[in-house]
Amino acid sequence: MSTEDLLAELIESLDAELEQLTLLRFRLVVLGSLVAADQAFWLPKSVRELQATTDQLRLIDLRRAAATSGITEAFLLDPEARLPQIAAQVDDGWGEMLHDRRRLLLEQMANIRSVADLTISALGRRSTLLREALGFLSGSGGSSYGRQGPTRPQIVQGAM
């Protein structure tokens, strides 16, 4: 297989990875929206879709790793070489394409991280509230609420 074929395969796997990351981001936004809208009933379905997207992403990443391995071997590079190192060894056209994919991948991953952080934070806040509520129900009382606690909730008033 020529180096051009190997580079084409790498670009193709990077594009597939980008597409899968976009899908992952979409499904994560859906999950976050469901959490935010308190639609717990749909969460398991959303989680399954997210897990399927993540599994698919792992398979695509294996293809990308295989293509990268062929290129590093052909160019006598470190097997752990990153995209900028590969781009520096190839023609400008291929190099530019690799830089573009790299930028888009990093952007997409940053976006996904941002949504993930937001959703994790929302989940954490809810879990704390629910733990308080469950503690109250089981009689041990919560730290924020209690039978002898404030008769009216400042949180609701504050949230309005």
Binding site: V35, A37, A159
Partner: protein, 482 residues
């Protein structure tokens, strides 16, 4: 946030926070009296952008789940329950005043007294038998006095329980406090509502005050368009907007006309526990006083009549047959307290009946023998062992209008009324429980459902957190490559 999807998520997060906070609030108020479950009312954000896509949801308001019909039924049931329970309590107290059947009861004392007279009839000139009759007659009078006093004390204590309406420990003072509270809450609710604030906390507080008022007075309520609650009781408006009437007591238990009126003098006829107190003080207790006095009057009337128309064993005559007799004339056995000879029957005689001091000083002054007549050889002024009159006295035990019959009638009436009061109280409690249950099914917090909902949500959140953490792990390989 620039991402369109994320701005939906962000708006949803705000809405969700309010919803979860509301759920927690509901749970923390499960045991708060008058608390109505809150629900978050979500409304969609207006669509925007070229595709007119939805932009998520916003929290429109947090409202209480209540139903006016059930609310009214609950208030009415509270009033009925307040009245029934208080009546039941009063009847139980009256029952305690009449410990029947027991050796301490009036019935047993009457029975002993009739037995004493039968013994005297067998030994009309025996000092011991004469002494026993006099002592037990005195005991009977004291028992009637004591029973009457206990009824009067019960009446007085009920008046104290109602109080004057001023700042004392009476229920009327509590009512005035609650009426003022409702008026102040009305003011806060109307002002808060018009300013778009959440007034549910004030509504809960007002509902709790109204429930208590209903139990005390029996009330009806209506809500104005602005959110103020108008309260009426016994045909008088007690709270209108932010103005509350002040109630005072009128009359007294002693004069059997204890009443309630506004400070401006408008009388009202309350129900509830205060209405039950007024009925007890003005009607029920005077009724039992009158029945007890009828027993005293039958006892005194029957014995005094026989005493006046008979002769003592030593020949001294009763007042009706004394004629020109110059020796001792037999005194009345029973007299009014403070009087040496007169007995005046009245509806309060049980409180004033006493044994004449002259008879107590000389128990032989009892007319055991019949008046001289064709059926005997009795002569006024001459000693006799005839005991026909003592037998007639003992026979009052079985007289159809005698004290025993009247007393048994009183106890029968008391038993029936107490039983009715107990049954009514149970029924009223059931009614109130049902009404409260109906209200709770709408506005109360269902703890089990909330718990299940929370556990399900908690599990779903946990699974979502794990799935998101897995994304970070799947990025590791890619991050090392790019």
């Amino acid at each position: 946030m620039s991402d369109f999807g994320l701005s939906i998520a962000a708006s949803g997060l705000n809405a969700d926070t309010a919803e979860l906070d509301t759920a927690s609030n509901n749970l923390s108020n499960i045991n708060t009296p008058g608390y109505a479950q809150e629900v978050v009312n979500l409304s969609p954000e207006a669509a925007a952008g070229p595709l007119q896509a939805g932009r998520g949801v916003t929290v429109a308001s947090v409202s209480e789940l209540t139903d006016a019909v059930y609310e009214s039924a609950n208030v009415a049931a509270e009033g009925v329950q307040g009245a029934a329970n208080q009546t039941n309590q009063v009847m139980s107290s009256i029952e305690a005043v009449f410990p029947e059947p027991s050796s301490d009861g009036l019935s047993a004392q009457l029975s002993t007294f009739w037995s004493d007279l039968s013994t005297l009839a067998a030994n009309p000139n025996q000092a011991g038998a004469q002494q026993t009759v006099a002592a037990d007659a005195s005991g009977l009078a004291e028992a009637l006095n004591s029973t009457s006093t206990q009824l009067s004390q019960l009446s007085s204590s009920l008046q104290s329980e109602v109080g004057t309406g001023a700042a004392d420990s009476g229920t009327l003072a509590q009512v005035n406090q609650l009426l003022n509270q409702v008026a102040q809450l009305n003011q806060g609710i109307v002002a808060g509502d018009s300013a778009g604030q959440n007034v549910n906390a004030l509504s809960d507080e007002r509902r709790s005050a109204v429930d208590q008022l209903a139990g005390f007075l029996g009330i009806s309520t209506s809500t104005t368009a602005g959110g103020a609650l108008t309260i009426n009781s016994g045909g008088v408006q007690l709270v209108s907007g932010d103005v509350a009437q002040t109630l005072v007591s009128t009359g007294s238990a002693a004069t059997e006309n204890l009443g309630i009126a506004t400070s401006s003098g408008v009388a009202l006829q309350p129900s509830g526990s205060i209405g039950a107190d007024l009925t007890a003080v003005n009607s029920t207790l005077p009724g039992y006083q009158a029945q007890l006095s009828a027993v005293a009057n039958a006892l005194a009337g029957g014995l005094n009549t026989l005493q006046a128309n008979g002769m003592a064993a030593n020949g001294d005559p009763g007042s009706a047959i004394a004629g020109g007799y110059t020796g001792t004339i037999l005194p009345n056995i029973f007299v009014d307290q403070g009087s040496t000879s007169m007995y005046t029957p009245s509806t309060m005689s049980a409180a004033t009946i006493a044994v004449s001091s002259a008879y107590l000083a000389d128990p032989s002054l009892i007319a055991t023998a019949a008046a001289p007549g064709p059926s005997n050889s009795n002569v006024v002024g001459t000693a006799t062992l005839d005991s026909a009159n003592a037998q007639a006295m003992a026979a009052l035990a079985g007289a159809t209008t005698g004290p025993d019959t009247l007393y048994q009638s009183l106890i029968g009436t008391l038993g029936t009324q107490a039983s009715d009061a107990s049954g009514t109280s149970t029924a009223a409690t059931n009614l109130a429980t049902t009404a409260a249950g109906n209200l709770a099914s709408i506005s109360g917090v269902n703890q089990n459902q909330q718990e299940v909902d929370i556990l399900s949500a908690q599990n779903a959140f946990q699974a979502a957190s794990q799935a998101i953490n897995a994304i970070n792990q799947s990025f590791q390989s890619l991050l090392q490559a790019v």
